[in-house]
């Protein structure tokens, strides 16, 4: 069983706490993403999993086996963890050809020649590299280099795969393709994936479950749907997709936009999560309807045609909102007054991101 368990994991660099009291269980065979802005501690977490960093506090277990334990100062060296790992900058060895790159971990294990041949060819076939096995990495494209790194990582048939922003050095089209290939490999070979990324769309597309981190602190764990539909904080809401925030205040049992009483009261009921007389309304650009009459009153500032959708910038008092409508919906001119209705919105007590 390759269940990966982290308990009370803390890591400090000098005076900075990179990861703070992280507790987590990554289930056998799932694809789990660590998501967050750069410097949030996600890469440090992965490197602690791999054994490249010691822990200042806490324990890491895989199945029943302890891999790292700070209290006992016990750390299984990276080379004995039997993980597969793919690095952001590929880290394919330029002095070895493709075959030798992929065969390396098998040679280290001391397998027989025939075994090495067979397993290397399997990994090369699985990643579509058989044709170029005698080429050197310098002759190949970024996408192919990443395939070499993948092939090398799956060659020993690991139970756990660690992927450190493996797609961020690829162009967007290739990135999408590789995403599917990684998922496909996982389905066939059944390993657990721990995937580090700063790209929320990538995390949503690939993960069974994901974690959002910020400044070394876990913000939320859940499936992509849970996290997109019910962000636990204003930070997660803004990180996980396009977002609009409006500061609200309650008077006489109704909610008004702060600084814009003339826009009228909010017609929808006050969302749960909003406590106190002032709160923040959060909504996605696609979840707001526009109409000529009624709703929260605003003015169209700009209109941009984006093909399938039309994007409006609408001013409400001192605030500006981003709203996306279908290209075939009713069109509003720049400068025209419009009414806003929130089909879906959430409320947060925090007034700003910090």
């Amino acid at each position: 069983m390759a269940t990966v368990t982290l308990s009370h994991v803390t890591k400090r660099f000098g005076g900075v706490t990179a990861v703070r009291d992280l507790g987590l269980e990554i289930r056998d065979g799932e694809c789990f993403s660590l998501l967050g802005p750069s410097g949030c501690g996600k890469t440090t977490t992965l490197r602690m999993l791999a054994g490249f960093e010691d822990l200042d506090e806490g324990e890491i277990r895989v199945g029943d086996r302890v891999f790292s334990n700070s209290a006992r100062r016990y750390y299984l060296p990276p080379e004995q963890r039997d993980f597969g790992m793919v690095f952001q900058a590929f880290a394919v060895w330029p002095h070895l050809n493709i075959f030798d790159n992929v065969a390396f971990p098998l040679q280290i294990k001391g397998l027989s020649r025939a075994d090495i041949q067979a397993k290397t060819r399997r990994a090369l076939a699985d990643t579509g590299l058989l044709k170029v096995q005698h080429a050197f990495p310098g002759e190949l494209s970024g996408g192919e280099k990443q395939r070499i790194a993948l092939a090398r990582a799956i060659a020993i048939n690991p139970q756990v795969m660690l992927l450190d922003e493996p797609l961020s050095n690829l162009d967007p089209k290739l990135r999408e393709e590789m995403r599917f290939e990684i998922k496909d490999l996982q389905r066939r070979l059944g390993f657990t994936i721990v995937f580090v990324t700063h790209d929320q769309a990538e995390a949503m597309a690939i993960s069974d479950r994901m974690l959002v981190m910020r400044d070394g602190v876990l913000q939320q764990v859940g499936s992509p749907i849970e996290i997109y539909e019910k962000p636990s904080s204003r930070f997660v809401f803004s990180f996980i997709g396009l977002s609009n925030f409006l500061p609200m205040e309650d008077r006489d049992g109704r909610s008004y936009v702060q600084g814009a009483p003339e826009a009228g009261p909010l017609e929808a009921p006050r969302p749960t999560g909003a406590a106190g007389p002032t709160w923040t309304l959060a909504s996605r650009p696609t979840h707001i309807d526009l109409s000529a009459e009624g709703g929260l009153r605003g003015t169209v500032l700009r209109r941009v045609y984006l093909g399938e959708v039309v994007e409006y910038r609408v001013r409400v008092g001192p605030h500006e909102l981003r709203i996306q409508k279908g290209a075939r919906d009713q069109v509003f001119e720049e400068g025209a007054p419009v009414g806003l209705t929130f089909r879906r919105c959430l409320g947060y007590a925090e007034s700003s991101e910090s």
């Binding site: 080379e79 952001q88 330029p94 002095h95 294990k109 310098g138």
Partner: protein, 561 residues
Amino acid sequence: MRPRRFGTAELLLLLSILILVVVVAIPILLIFWNAFVVEGKPDFLRALALLKEPDTLEALKNSLVIAGGTTVLSTIIGVFFAWLVSRTDLPYKGTMKVLFLVPFMLPSFIGALAWKILLSPRGGHINRLLMDLFHLEDPVFNIMSLGGIIAVETMYLFPFVFIQVSGALERMDPTLEEAARISGAGLFTITRRITLPLMMPSILAGALLVALYSLAHFGVPAILGTERNIFIIPTKIYEKIYASGGNFEAIRTGTMLSSILVLSAAAILYIQSLVLSSGRFQVISGKSMRPMVLKLRGLKWPLLILSVVYIALTVVLPTVTIFLVGTLKTYGLAFKLENMTFDNFTYILFKWELTRDAIWNSFYLSLSAAAVTMLIGTLISYVLVKTKIRGKFLLEFLGVLPFSVPGTVIALGVILMWSGRFGVNLYNTAWIIFVAYIARYMAFALKSTSAALEQVHDSLEEAARACGASKWQAMKDVVLPLIKPGMVAAFFLIFLPALRELTTSVLLYGPHTRTIGVAIYTLNEDGETVYAAALAAIALVIIVLGQLLIKRVTRAKIESA
């Protein structure tokens, strides 16, 4: 725009080509001409016959042994120390790294002088000490041998390998090693199968530089070998030219040997460019993360002591020796306070015309050569990097020449060119040394100014033009300020080595145009060991002050930027 046949760019190109032809190309051509052409006809057989003379053959063999031995030894020491300071938890790594670069700034012929004082078979202080202590009949060490020359050359040349390899180790993407680690490999396997092969181009590049320098160096073999009849190509050339008073056969032998030097230097540089351009070994760094560090555990302190002892033996001991010997009233006296005096230094600095002149000559020659070479280098680099005109390939070819011409060859070339054959006779004047310095250090100027110019993207100049600046204004207000650090670097890269130059000057000096290097060398030849050491001590002080000045200047640059 009106069509132009011949504009500023063409003029600059022509000027650059002309300078390189006069300063470098013709002298080299004259060497080959003299070596292989007799009375207007090519004659390779006679040239080969000259090479078969026993003494030239011996010099060729010695060159091969010394260059080979120095290269192998420097590579081993350089790689080991580079690995120690960048891949282990050696204490005081940072300090040690700086210390390993110190031998770079010490002139090797001064080191050779110190080692001769310490380890010459009969008179060497250490030898005498050991013989007294253990009542030995024979000296223990003989530095005046092939092995001794190799050892001393290695002390001052290994930093070439050290710099290349430690730089490459630091630039290397650490995930390349981590990937091997997560694949199950231990540190030893990673070093053998990943790190060392990836470092190979840097190791080779450093080793080839060592080979190039040990082949072309005059000072160490001259001081340690000549007395014992051990000659290598540069010292043989010197002997031929000097002993024979300019007879034709001697010059022919000299030019033959020079041709061999040029061709081997060109071969070495060609191999180096092949090694460095093979993209297979590119190890671009990704995120800057701390590389894996080997824990030395019990070996930590022994290895630190080894490094410190190495520095003490190769840097401190020779330097102290030079200073101490420089204070002796007479050479051979014991190092006691009553035998020491500062008078030697004041005599050399202020009273003795020979040494006073030498210091002054070195100063104004290296200052003017550095300034002029830097300006010419900037001009040529500008044409090479920034212009697109026909005929540039000619300049590109000529621009490679200065890199492959050893100092001895340049000296012989300028002798052939400026001794009245073409109507100008500069022989025995300071001008001939000045011309030779320009040729010798052109490579340095070209390297750092072209690197600086390549950093200045064309769009910066174009942006200035788009804002209404003329070509000249864009040059003056945008390009020049941006490449100024490169020009300053070029100046110092020439000024400091020129200040202590020996290989070229020793073939060109006249009665009143000794340089510091030449003065130290001739004083030593004449048995004036104390004055040689005192002048060497003064030279060391000047060099150290110069290095500190550079640090100051370049740091001020960085801070103001």
